[in-house]
Protein backbone atom coordinates (compact mmCIF):
# COMPACT_ATOMS: atom_id res chain seq x y z
CA UNK A 1 0.00 0.00 0.00
CA UNK A 2 1.39 3.36 -0.95
CA UNK A 3 2.17 5.64 1.98
CA UNK A 4 4.02 8.45 0.31
CA UNK A 5 4.54 9.27 -3.28
CA UNK A 6 6.53 11.81 -5.24
CA UNK A 7 5.04 12.98 -8.49
CA UNK A 8 7.31 14.73 -10.96
CA UNK A 9 9.26 16.44 -8.19
CA UNK A 10 11.86 18.95 -9.32
CA UNK A 11 14.13 20.92 -7.03
CA UNK A 12 15.94 23.88 -8.46
CA UNK A 13 18.62 25.93 -6.66
CA UNK A 14 19.20 28.97 -8.84
CA UNK A 15 20.71 27.64 -12.06
CA UNK A 16 21.38 24.22 -10.49
CA UNK A 17 18.78 21.50 -10.74
CA UNK A 18 19.27 19.08 -7.85
CA UNK A 19 16.27 16.86 -8.63
CA UNK A 20 14.64 16.41 -12.01
CA UNK A 21 11.14 15.11 -12.52
CA UNK A 22 11.40 12.50 -9.77
CA UNK A 23 8.46 10.10 -9.36
CA UNK A 24 8.17 7.00 -7.19
CA UNK A 25 6.11 5.46 -4.37
CA UNK A 26 7.07 4.51 -0.85
CA UNK A 27 5.17 1.48 0.47
CA UNK A 28 3.83 1.38 4.01
CA UNK A 29 6.09 -0.58 6.34
CA UNK A 30 8.97 -1.09 3.93
CA UNK A 31 12.63 -0.26 4.37
CA UNK A 32 13.59 1.71 1.31
CA UNK A 33 17.27 2.29 0.69
CA UNK A 34 18.37 5.31 -1.31
CA UNK A 35 21.78 5.23 -2.95
CA UNK A 36 23.73 7.04 -5.61
CA UNK A 37 27.10 8.72 -6.08
CA UNK A 38 28.04 11.88 -4.16
CA UNK A 39 26.03 14.85 -5.32
CA UNK A 40 23.30 12.67 -6.83
CA UNK A 41 20.64 14.54 -4.84
CA UNK A 42 20.00 12.03 -2.06
CA UNK A 43 19.89 14.52 0.79
CA UNK A 44 17.85 16.95 -1.31
CA UNK A 45 15.38 14.14 -1.94
CA UNK A 46 15.07 13.46 1.80
CA UNK A 47 14.55 17.14 2.57
CA UNK A 48 11.88 17.53 -0.08
CA UNK A 49 10.02 14.67 1.63
CA UNK A 50 10.46 15.89 5.21
CA UNK A 51 9.92 19.59 4.61
CA UNK A 52 13.49 20.86 4.97
CA UNK A 53 13.05 22.01 1.38
CA UNK A 54 9.98 22.84 -0.65
CA UNK A 55 9.91 21.25 -4.10
CA UNK A 56 10.12 23.77 -6.95
CA UNK A 57 7.69 21.71 -9.02
CA UNK A 58 5.72 18.48 -8.64
CA UNK A 59 3.91 17.07 -5.63
CA UNK A 60 4.70 15.14 -2.47
CA UNK A 61 1.69 13.10 -1.34
CA UNK A 62 1.49 11.56 2.15
CA UNK A 63 -1.49 9.36 3.08
CA UNK A 64 -3.40 10.84 0.19
CA UNK A 65 -2.76 14.43 1.27
CA UNK A 66 -0.71 16.90 -0.75
CA UNK A 67 2.02 18.02 1.67
CA UNK A 68 4.30 19.73 -0.84
CA UNK A 69 3.92 23.14 0.77
CA UNK A 70 3.92 22.10 4.44
CA UNK A 71 6.80 23.13 6.65
CA UNK A 72 8.99 20.60 8.42
CA UNK A 73 7.54 21.02 11.91
CA UNK A 74 4.05 20.51 10.53
CA UNK A 75 5.06 17.43 8.54
CA UNK A 76 6.66 16.15 11.74
CA UNK A 77 3.29 16.58 13.38
CA UNK A 78 1.69 14.56 10.59
CA UNK A 79 4.03 11.64 11.32
CA UNK A 80 7.05 12.27 9.12
CA UNK A 81 10.28 12.13 11.11
CA UNK A 82 13.88 12.62 10.09
CA UNK A 83 17.33 11.86 11.46
CA UNK A 84 20.62 13.26 10.26
CA UNK A 85 24.12 11.96 9.68
CA UNK A 86 25.52 14.15 12.43
CA UNK A 87 23.34 13.71 15.53
CA UNK A 88 21.28 16.77 16.42
CA UNK A 89 20.81 16.73 20.17
CA UNK A 90 19.88 19.07 22.97
CA UNK A 91 23.27 18.71 24.56
CA UNK A 92 22.68 20.50 27.86
CA UNK A 93 19.91 18.19 29.03
CA UNK A 94 19.68 14.48 29.76
CA UNK A 95 18.98 11.65 27.36
CA UNK A 96 15.47 11.31 28.79
CA UNK A 97 14.72 14.99 28.28
CA UNK A 98 15.87 14.72 24.66
CA UNK A 99 13.27 12.03 24.08
CA UNK A 100 10.65 14.03 25.95
CA UNK A 101 11.23 16.96 23.59
CA UNK A 102 10.04 14.75 20.76
CA UNK A 103 7.03 13.62 22.73
CA UNK A 104 6.09 17.13 23.84
CA UNK A 105 6.46 18.95 20.52
CA UNK A 106 6.07 16.29 17.86
CA UNK A 107 2.53 15.16 18.49
CA UNK A 108 0.66 18.44 18.25
CA UNK A 109 -1.01 18.00 14.90
CA UNK A 110 -2.58 14.59 15.56
CA UNK A 111 -3.19 14.89 19.30
CA UNK A 112 -1.47 12.67 21.85
CA UNK A 113 -2.21 9.10 20.91
CA UNK A 114 0.16 7.82 18.25
CA UNK A 115 0.36 4.25 19.50
CA UNK A 116 4.09 4.47 20.26
CA UNK A 117 4.90 4.36 23.96
CA UNK A 118 8.01 5.70 25.63
CA UNK A 119 8.61 2.22 27.01
CA UNK A 120 8.80 0.76 23.49
CA UNK A 121 11.14 3.51 22.37
CA UNK A 122 13.48 3.01 25.31
CA UNK A 123 13.51 -0.74 24.76
CA UNK A 124 14.16 -0.49 21.04
CA UNK A 125 16.88 2.12 21.28
CA UNK A 126 18.40 0.46 24.37
CA UNK A 127 18.48 3.75 26.22
CA UNK A 128 16.74 2.51 29.38
CA UNK A 129 19.89 2.64 31.47
CA UNK A 130 21.03 6.01 30.13
CA UNK A 131 17.96 8.11 30.85
CA UNK A 132 19.64 10.37 33.40
CA UNK A 133 22.92 10.69 31.51
CA UNK A 134 23.72 14.17 30.12
CA UNK A 135 23.37 13.91 26.35
CA UNK A 136 26.69 15.69 25.90
CA UNK A 137 28.55 12.71 27.36
CA UNK A 138 27.17 10.12 24.96
CA UNK A 139 29.39 8.38 22.38
CA UNK A 140 28.52 8.49 18.69
CA UNK A 141 26.39 5.35 18.58
CA UNK A 142 24.48 6.45 21.68
CA UNK A 143 23.99 9.92 20.17
CA UNK A 144 22.53 8.29 17.09
CA UNK A 145 20.23 6.23 19.30
CA UNK A 146 19.13 9.36 21.15
CA UNK A 147 18.37 11.17 17.90
CA UNK A 148 16.43 8.15 16.65
CA UNK A 149 14.64 7.93 20.01
CA UNK A 150 13.63 11.61 19.84
CA UNK A 151 12.38 11.05 16.29
CA UNK A 152 10.39 8.00 17.44
CA UNK A 153 8.96 9.97 20.36
CA UNK A 154 7.23 12.27 17.86
CA UNK A 155 5.13 9.22 16.97
CA UNK A 156 6.04 8.92 13.28
CA UNK A 157 4.60 6.69 10.58
CA UNK A 158 7.71 7.11 8.46
CA UNK A 159 11.31 8.03 9.26
CA UNK A 160 13.81 9.41 6.81
CA UNK A 161 17.34 8.58 7.92
CA UNK A 162 20.25 10.38 6.31
CA UNK A 163 23.35 8.15 6.44
CA UNK A 164 22.51 6.54 9.79
CA UNK A 165 25.65 4.38 9.65
CA UNK A 166 28.08 7.20 8.89
CA UNK A 167 31.07 7.20 11.27
CA UNK A 168 30.25 3.86 12.90
CA UNK A 169 32.68 0.92 12.99
CA UNK A 170 31.80 -2.55 11.71
CA UNK A 171 30.54 -3.78 15.05
CA UNK A 172 28.43 -0.69 15.67
CA UNK A 173 26.96 -0.94 12.17
CA UNK A 174 25.64 -4.41 12.92
CA UNK A 175 24.21 -3.16 16.20
CA UNK A 176 22.52 -0.09 14.73
CA UNK A 177 21.14 -1.99 11.74
CA UNK A 178 19.50 -4.30 14.27
CA UNK A 179 17.91 -1.28 16.01
CA UNK A 180 16.60 0.05 12.68
CA UNK A 181 15.22 -3.38 11.79
CA UNK A 182 13.43 -3.59 15.13
CA UNK A 183 11.90 -0.17 14.66
CA UNK A 184 10.27 -1.40 11.49
CA UNK A 185 9.30 -4.80 12.86
CA UNK A 186 8.04 -3.81 16.30
CA UNK A 187 6.46 -0.46 15.46
CA UNK A 188 5.63 -0.95 11.79
CA UNK A 189 7.28 2.35 10.90
CA UNK A 190 8.33 2.85 7.30
CA UNK A 191 12.01 3.62 6.94
CA UNK A 192 13.71 5.46 4.12
CA UNK A 193 17.46 5.51 4.49
CA UNK A 194 20.18 7.13 2.47
CA UNK A 195 23.38 5.14 2.85
CA UNK A 196 26.75 4.90 1.18
CA UNK A 197 27.51 1.52 2.67
CA UNK A 198 25.85 -0.50 -0.09
CA UNK A 199 26.47 -3.90 1.46
CA UNK A 200 24.65 -2.87 4.64
CA UNK A 201 21.92 -1.32 2.54
CA UNK A 202 21.44 -4.50 0.52
CA UNK A 203 21.24 -6.46 3.74
CA UNK A 204 18.51 -4.38 5.37
CA UNK A 205 16.47 -2.82 2.58
CA UNK A 206 13.40 -4.34 0.93
CA UNK A 207 13.89 -2.15 -2.09
CA UNK A 208 16.68 0.15 -3.21
CA UNK A 209 16.27 3.39 -5.13
CA UNK A 210 19.23 4.52 -7.22
CA UNK A 211 19.46 8.14 -8.31
CA UNK A 212 22.17 9.88 -10.31
CA UNK A 213 22.55 13.56 -11.28
CA UNK A 214 19.19 14.24 -9.64
CA UNK A 215 17.40 11.74 -11.83
CA UNK A 216 15.61 8.49 -11.11
CA UNK A 217 17.69 5.52 -12.29
CA UNK A 218 15.94 2.47 -10.92
CA UNK A 219 13.93 1.12 -7.99
CA UNK A 220 13.86 -2.60 -7.29
CA UNK A 221 14.99 -5.29 -4.82
CA UNK A 222 18.63 -5.06 -3.68
CA UNK A 223 19.55 -8.20 -5.65
CA UNK A 224 18.28 -6.79 -8.91
CA UNK A 225 19.59 -3.28 -8.36
CA UNK A 226 23.11 -4.16 -7.28
CA UNK A 227 23.60 -6.62 -10.10
CA UNK A 228 22.39 -4.19 -12.71
CA UNK A 229 25.10 -3.28 -15.20
CA UNK A 230 24.02 0.32 -15.43
CA UNK A 231 24.09 0.77 -11.64
CA UNK A 232 27.52 -0.85 -11.41
CA UNK A 233 28.64 1.53 -14.14
CA UNK A 234 27.37 4.55 -12.23
CA UNK A 235 29.31 3.51 -9.19
CA UNK A 236 32.51 2.09 -10.71
CA UNK A 237 32.64 3.51 -14.19
CA UNK A 238 32.38 1.65 -17.49
CA UNK A 239 33.68 -1.89 -17.69
CA UNK A 240 36.56 -2.23 -20.10
CA UNK A 241 36.75 -5.28 -22.27
CA UNK A 242 40.28 -6.45 -22.20
Amino acid sequence: MTQMSLENVTMQFGPFRALTDMSFHIERGEILGVAGPNGAGKSTLMNVCTGGLRATAGQVIFNGQDITRFKRHYRCGLGIAQTFQIPTLLSSVTVGENLLAGQVFGREVRGEDTGISMRDILFLTQLEDHLAMPAAQADLLTRKRIMLGAALATGPEIIFMDEPLGGLNAEEIVEFLQVIRHVREELGITIVMVEHKTRALAEIADRVLIINFGEFVMLDTPQVVLNDDHVVEIYLGKKHDA
Binding site: K71, R72, H73, C76, T88, L90, G106, M147, A150, T154
Partner: protein, 290 residues
Protein backbone atom coordinates in the same frame (compact mmCIF):
# COMPACT_ATOMS: atom_id res chain seq x y z
CA UNK B 1 31.30 53.11 54.97
CA UNK B 2 27.89 54.67 54.36
CA UNK B 3 29.22 56.18 51.19
CA UNK B 4 30.51 52.86 49.89
CA UNK B 5 27.17 51.24 50.68
CA UNK B 6 25.36 54.00 48.86
CA UNK B 7 27.52 53.57 45.78
CA UNK B 8 27.00 49.83 45.95
CA UNK B 9 23.22 50.21 46.13
CA UNK B 10 23.22 52.70 43.30
CA UNK B 11 25.21 50.23 41.21
CA UNK B 12 22.92 47.32 42.01
CA UNK B 13 19.73 49.22 41.15
CA UNK B 14 21.30 50.37 37.90
CA UNK B 15 22.49 46.85 37.18
CA UNK B 16 18.96 45.49 37.20
CA UNK B 17 17.91 47.81 34.38
CA UNK B 18 21.04 47.11 32.34
CA UNK B 19 20.19 43.48 32.84
CA UNK B 20 16.80 43.96 31.19
CA UNK B 21 18.39 45.49 28.08
CA UNK B 22 21.16 42.87 27.97
CA UNK B 23 18.88 39.88 28.53
CA UNK B 24 16.79 41.04 25.57
CA UNK B 25 19.86 41.16 23.35
CA UNK B 26 21.06 37.82 24.65
CA UNK B 27 17.70 36.11 24.20
CA UNK B 28 17.64 36.80 20.46
CA UNK B 29 21.29 35.88 20.04
CA UNK B 30 20.77 32.65 21.96
CA UNK B 31 17.77 31.52 19.96
CA UNK B 32 18.67 32.70 16.48
CA UNK B 33 22.37 33.73 16.55
CA UNK B 34 21.42 37.22 15.46
CA UNK B 35 23.20 40.22 16.89
CA UNK B 36 20.62 42.96 16.69
CA UNK B 37 22.36 46.28 16.25
CA UNK B 38 19.01 48.08 16.35
CA UNK B 39 18.53 46.99 19.96
CA UNK B 40 19.57 50.43 21.27
CA UNK B 41 17.34 52.38 18.89
CA UNK B 42 14.42 50.24 20.01
CA UNK B 43 15.32 51.25 23.57
CA UNK B 44 14.98 54.89 22.45
CA UNK B 45 11.75 54.07 20.66
CA UNK B 46 10.24 52.82 23.92
CA UNK B 47 11.31 56.00 25.71
CA UNK B 48 9.90 58.27 23.01
CA UNK B 49 6.58 56.47 22.80
CA UNK B 50 6.19 56.84 26.56
CA UNK B 51 7.24 60.49 26.45
CA UNK B 52 4.69 61.19 23.74
CA UNK B 53 1.82 59.48 25.55
CA UNK B 54 2.63 60.87 29.00
CA UNK B 55 4.11 64.31 28.33
CA UNK B 56 4.05 65.47 24.72
CA UNK B 57 0.70 64.12 23.54
CA UNK B 58 -2.49 63.03 25.24
CA UNK B 59 -0.94 63.12 28.73
CA UNK B 60 -2.22 59.77 29.97
CA UNK B 61 -0.83 58.20 33.14
CA UNK B 62 2.35 56.16 32.79
CA UNK B 63 0.79 52.80 33.69
CA UNK B 64 -1.76 53.25 30.91
CA UNK B 65 1.03 54.22 28.53
CA UNK B 66 2.78 50.98 29.45
CA UNK B 67 -0.30 48.95 28.58
CA UNK B 68 -0.54 50.67 25.20
CA UNK B 69 3.16 50.55 24.38
CA UNK B 70 3.85 46.89 25.22
CA UNK B 71 1.83 45.45 22.32
CA UNK B 72 3.27 48.07 19.96
CA UNK B 73 6.79 47.02 20.92
CA UNK B 74 5.98 43.32 20.57
CA UNK B 75 4.44 43.91 17.15
CA UNK B 76 7.48 45.96 16.10
CA UNK B 77 9.66 43.00 17.03
CA UNK B 78 7.58 40.54 15.03
CA UNK B 79 7.53 42.83 11.99
CA UNK B 80 11.30 43.37 12.08
CA UNK B 81 11.96 39.65 12.39
CA UNK B 82 9.59 38.73 9.59
CA UNK B 83 10.24 41.53 7.13
CA UNK B 84 13.91 42.28 7.68
CA UNK B 85 15.66 39.28 9.17
CA UNK B 86 13.82 36.19 7.99
CA UNK B 87 14.43 36.80 4.27
CA UNK B 88 18.17 36.82 5.00
CA UNK B 89 18.23 33.60 6.99
CA UNK B 90 19.97 30.84 5.10
CA UNK B 91 21.62 33.19 2.61
CA UNK B 92 25.43 33.19 2.34
CA UNK B 93 27.07 35.01 5.27
CA UNK B 94 23.67 35.63 6.80
CA UNK B 95 25.11 36.37 10.23
CA UNK B 96 27.17 39.26 8.85
CA UNK B 97 24.28 40.33 6.64
CA UNK B 98 21.91 40.56 9.60
CA UNK B 99 24.42 42.72 11.46
CA UNK B 100 24.65 45.11 8.50
CA UNK B 101 20.90 45.16 8.03
CA UNK B 102 20.07 45.72 11.71
CA UNK B 103 22.71 48.47 11.79
CA UNK B 104 20.90 50.12 8.89
CA UNK B 105 17.64 49.62 10.71
CA UNK B 106 19.10 51.39 13.74
CA UNK B 107 19.83 54.44 11.58
CA UNK B 108 16.35 54.35 10.10
CA UNK B 109 14.71 54.21 13.53
CA UNK B 110 16.95 56.95 14.92
CA UNK B 111 16.34 59.28 12.02
CA UNK B 112 12.65 58.46 12.13
CA UNK B 113 12.61 59.49 15.80
CA UNK B 114 14.46 62.72 14.94
CA UNK B 115 11.97 63.49 12.19
CA UNK B 116 8.95 62.92 14.38
CA UNK B 117 10.11 64.17 17.77
CA UNK B 118 13.01 66.47 16.85
CA UNK B 119 16.63 66.05 17.86
CA UNK B 120 16.31 67.33 21.45
CA UNK B 121 16.36 65.31 24.65
CA UNK B 122 13.14 64.60 26.53
CA UNK B 123 12.31 63.39 29.96
CA UNK B 124 9.39 61.76 31.72
CA UNK B 125 8.67 62.68 35.35
CA UNK B 126 9.26 59.72 37.67
CA UNK B 127 6.06 57.99 38.76
CA UNK B 128 7.04 58.18 42.42
CA UNK B 129 8.77 61.04 44.20
CA UNK B 130 10.75 61.19 47.39
CA UNK B 131 13.32 58.85 48.81
CA UNK B 132 13.89 56.28 51.45
CA UNK B 133 16.47 56.71 54.20
CA UNK B 134 17.74 53.90 56.36
CA UNK B 135 20.54 54.71 58.82
CA UNK B 136 22.01 57.41 56.65
CA UNK B 137 21.75 55.55 53.33
CA UNK B 138 19.42 57.30 50.91
CA UNK B 139 17.81 55.87 47.82
CA UNK B 140 15.02 57.42 45.78
CA UNK B 141 11.76 55.52 45.65
CA UNK B 142 11.95 55.71 41.89
CA UNK B 143 15.27 53.87 41.67
CA UNK B 144 13.99 51.32 44.12
CA UNK B 145 10.85 50.73 42.06
CA UNK B 146 12.62 50.37 38.73
CA UNK B 147 14.97 47.94 40.46
CA UNK B 148 12.03 45.83 41.56
CA UNK B 149 10.27 46.06 38.18
CA UNK B 150 13.46 45.08 36.35
CA UNK B 151 14.09 42.11 38.59
CA UNK B 152 10.49 41.03 38.15
CA UNK B 153 10.84 41.25 34.36
CA UNK B 154 14.02 39.19 34.29
CA UNK B 155 12.51 36.71 36.74
CA UNK B 156 9.39 36.40 34.62
CA UNK B 157 11.52 35.75 31.56
CA UNK B 158 13.47 33.05 33.38
CA UNK B 159 10.25 31.46 34.51
CA UNK B 160 8.90 31.59 30.99
CA UNK B 161 12.03 29.95 29.61
CA UNK B 162 12.31 27.29 32.26
CA UNK B 163 8.79 26.17 32.86
CA UNK B 164 6.50 26.90 29.96
CA UNK B 165 6.18 24.73 26.93
CA UNK B 166 6.96 27.69 24.74
CA UNK B 167 10.04 28.57 26.74
CA UNK B 168 11.24 25.01 26.38
CA UNK B 169 10.89 25.34 22.62
CA UNK B 170 13.03 28.49 22.77
CA UNK B 171 15.71 26.66 24.74
CA UNK B 172 15.63 23.70 22.38
CA UNK B 173 16.06 25.97 19.37
CA UNK B 174 19.00 27.75 20.96
CA UNK B 175 20.75 24.43 21.50
CA UNK B 176 20.20 22.83 18.14
CA UNK B 177 18.04 24.51 15.55
CA UNK B 178 17.84 21.44 13.32
CA UNK B 179 17.30 19.06 16.21
CA UNK B 180 14.49 21.25 17.52
CA UNK B 181 12.89 21.39 14.11
CA UNK B 182 13.29 17.62 13.83
CA UNK B 183 11.12 17.00 16.89
CA UNK B 184 8.36 19.24 15.57
CA UNK B 185 9.17 22.69 16.95
CA UNK B 186 8.12 25.58 14.74
CA UNK B 187 11.47 27.34 14.57
CA UNK B 188 10.22 30.45 12.77
CA UNK B 189 7.62 31.03 15.43
CA UNK B 190 10.32 30.81 18.10
CA UNK B 191 12.38 33.40 16.22
CA UNK B 192 9.41 35.79 16.05
CA UNK B 193 8.51 35.36 19.70
CA UNK B 194 12.03 35.87 20.99
CA UNK B 195 12.40 38.97 18.85
CA UNK B 196 9.12 40.36 20.14
CA UNK B 197 10.12 39.69 23.75
CA UNK B 198 13.51 41.23 23.16
CA UNK B 199 12.05 44.46 21.80
CA UNK B 200 9.58 44.61 24.69
CA UNK B 201 12.41 44.23 27.20
CA UNK B 202 14.65 46.90 25.71
CA UNK B 203 11.72 49.26 25.13
CA UNK B 204 10.55 48.91 28.71
CA UNK B 205 14.08 49.61 29.93
CA UNK B 206 14.03 52.74 27.77
CA UNK B 207 10.85 53.87 29.49
CA UNK B 208 12.09 53.04 32.99
CA UNK B 209 15.33 54.91 32.51
CA UNK B 210 13.78 57.93 30.79
CA UNK B 211 13.42 59.91 34.06
CA UNK B 212 17.04 59.10 35.00
CA UNK B 213 19.00 59.30 31.74
CA UNK B 214 16.66 61.31 29.46
CA UNK B 215 15.55 60.17 26.03
CA UNK B 216 17.12 61.28 22.78
CA UNK B 217 17.00 59.88 19.25
CA UNK B 218 20.67 58.88 19.35
CA UNK B 219 20.60 57.95 23.03
CA UNK B 220 20.25 54.25 22.33
CA UNK B 221 23.89 53.61 21.48
CA UNK B 222 25.16 53.83 25.05
CA UNK B 223 22.70 51.22 26.39
CA UNK B 224 23.30 49.07 23.31
CA UNK B 225 27.05 49.16 23.80
CA UNK B 226 26.62 48.40 27.49
CA UNK B 227 24.24 45.55 26.77
CA UNK B 228 26.68 44.21 24.21
CA UNK B 229 29.58 44.29 26.69
CA UNK B 230 27.36 42.61 29.31
CA UNK B 231 26.32 39.87 26.90
CA UNK B 232 29.87 39.18 25.76
CA UNK B 233 31.21 39.28 29.30
CA UNK B 234 28.48 36.96 30.54
CA UNK B 235 28.91 34.57 27.63
CA UNK B 236 27.05 34.96 24.34
CA UNK B 237 23.53 33.64 24.54
CA UNK B 238 23.62 32.89 28.28
CA UNK B 239 20.82 34.58 30.19
CA UNK B 240 22.41 33.71 33.52
CA UNK B 241 25.72 35.16 32.31
CA UNK B 242 24.03 38.41 31.26
CA UNK B 243 22.37 38.63 34.67
CA UNK B 244 25.61 38.27 36.63
CA UNK B 245 27.66 40.44 34.25
CA UNK B 246 25.10 43.27 34.39
CA UNK B 247 25.49 43.58 38.17
CA UNK B 248 29.28 43.27 38.13
CA UNK B 249 29.62 46.00 35.53
CA UNK B 250 27.00 48.31 37.03
CA UNK B 251 28.64 48.20 40.45
CA UNK B 252 32.03 48.77 38.86
CA UNK B 253 30.52 51.72 37.00
CA UNK B 254 29.09 53.23 40.16
CA UNK B 255 32.47 53.15 41.90
CA UNK B 256 34.36 54.48 38.88
CA UNK B 257 31.90 57.36 38.47
CA UNK B 258 32.21 58.31 42.11
CA UNK B 259 35.95 58.03 42.56
CA UNK B 260 37.34 58.81 39.08
CA UNK B 261 34.61 60.47 37.05
CA UNK B 262 31.67 59.67 34.78
CA UNK B 263 33.69 59.77 31.58
CA UNK B 264 35.74 56.84 32.85
CA UNK B 265 32.76 54.52 33.20
CA UNK B 266 32.84 53.12 29.66
CA UNK B 267 36.64 52.68 29.54
CA UNK B 268 36.36 50.78 32.82
CA UNK B 269 33.71 48.48 31.28
CA UNK B 270 35.84 47.75 28.27
CA UNK B 271 38.93 47.20 30.39
CA UNK B 272 36.97 44.74 32.50
CA UNK B 273 35.79 43.02 29.33
CA UNK B 274 39.33 42.67 28.00
CA UNK B 275 40.58 41.25 31.29
CA UNK B 276 37.76 38.70 31.53
CA UNK B 277 38.12 37.63 27.90
CA UNK B 278 41.85 37.11 28.39
CA UNK B 279 41.11 34.65 31.18
CA UNK B 280 37.87 33.19 29.82
CA UNK B 281 37.58 33.79 26.07
CA UNK B 282 34.01 32.53 25.99
CA UNK B 283 32.84 34.82 28.78
CA UNK B 284 31.71 33.95 32.28
CA UNK B 285 29.01 31.41 31.42
CA UNK B 286 29.51 30.94 27.70
CA UNK B 287 29.73 27.66 25.86
CA UNK B 288 31.69 27.09 22.69
CA UNK B 289 29.83 27.16 19.45
CA UNK B 290 30.40 24.32 17.05
Amino acid sequence: MTQILEILISGITQGAVYCVVAVGLSLVYGASRILNFAHGSLYSLGGFLAWYLVVGGPGIPLWLAFLLILPVLALTGVVIERAVIRPLRGSDNWKINTIMVTLGLAFIIENGLQLVFGPGTRTIPPFVEGSLSISGITITWYKLSIFVISLALVGALELFLSSTRYGQAVRAVSQDMQGANQVGINVNQVFSTTFALSVVLTGVAGILLAPVFLVSPLGGWAPFLKAFVIVVLGGLGSTKGAFVAAFILAVLEAFVIFYIGPSWAMPAWLLMLIIVLMVRPKGLFGVWEN
